[in-house]
């Protein structure tokens, strides 16, 4: 058996704002009634964080629980823990209508980091990214250029971006081009 590889196989750029492949990332999509009682304990168990509320990103180091839609969460965890996590979900959600799937291989996770990372994303996504409106703790699903993407911030100048695996190179190239083009100077640097 060979080790799985990420779509971008570790691609990274240098520069003031860096774009890099975050490599293999365990991702589980869970669709269910988000008010289901046992979900709280499950989220705590899987990522050490509460169930994310509307548009929230609960990030804990290399784990996270992200709000995807009114009936969908995305859990992030180390790649090796996915199978175990799936069985724990199955146990917790027993007799409760739900759909839990390993989507680790279906997606790519990228990091955009640097003083004008916010502007790099704003070049590509039709959303309000003003620091008063969007910051760490939130997640947005929207477009990045011509593809669907979701992103959240882990600190004032770092974005994490997920997109589908097949378009990972497009997303990377797009982010790289936008980072190389330099800052716009609209948002205060480093926010």
């Amino acid at each position: 058996m060979s080790e799985p590889v990420s779509a971008l196989r570790g691609r990274a750029t240098s520069g003031s704002v860096q774009v890099s492949d975050m490599g293999l990332q365990g991702m589980i999509s869970l669709r269910c009634d988000l008010s289901f009682g046992k979900l709280k304990a499950l989220s705590k168990d899987l990522v050490g964080a509460p169930v994310p509320a509307l548009r929230e990103a609960q990030v804990r180091n290399d784990r996270a629980a992200l709000w995807m839609s009114p009936d969908e969460l995305l859990f992030l965890m180390p790649h090796t823990e996915v199978d175990d996590a799936l069985s724990r979900i199955a146990k917790a959600m027993k007799d409760q209508h739900h759909l839990a799937l390993d989507v680790s291989d279906a997606r790519a996770l990228l990091r955009v980091e640097g003083p004008f990372a916010r502007e790099v994303i704003a070049k590509l996504a039709p959303v309000d990214l003003h620091p008063d409106v969007f910051g760490p703790g939130q997640v947005l699903r929207t477009r990045l250029g011509q593809i669907a993407a979701a992103f959240w911030m882990t600190d004032a100048q770092t974005f994490q971006v997920i997109c589908f695996r097949s378009v990972a190179h497009y997303a990377f190239d797009l982010l790289e081009a936008s980072a190389k083009a330099g800052p716009v100077g609209h948002f205060p640097r480093g926010t």
């Binding site: 548009r55 995807m68 839609s69 009114p70 959303v127 699903r141 929207t142 477009r143």
Partner: protein, 109 residues
Amino acid sequence: MLILHCPHCDRMVDETDLHPGGEAHLKRHGPEADAEAFENYLFMRENPKGVHFERWRHVYGCGKWFLAARNTATLEVYGTYPAQTHQPPQTIRDTITERQPGWAWGDFR
């Protein structure tokens, strides 16, 4: 370019993140339907200059469908609401009445 409130995400969303789905509040007619009912369901659509009810999907976001009450002439949006309903909520109807007294659309007043 329109901007609509996604009731599922509770945020304003650009039209480019949405997918339009035609007329709202259609009632499905299946195999038991007579020709006229089926024709109405399949083909006959409102085409108003004014108040209109439409389906939109937040396709680049939460993926959920919602409905919008909108004026096709002025583009004023009276409100958006989740798609799991057979008729517009009373609050939205009241807003429309306030803005467009005497409006009518299909069976709605």
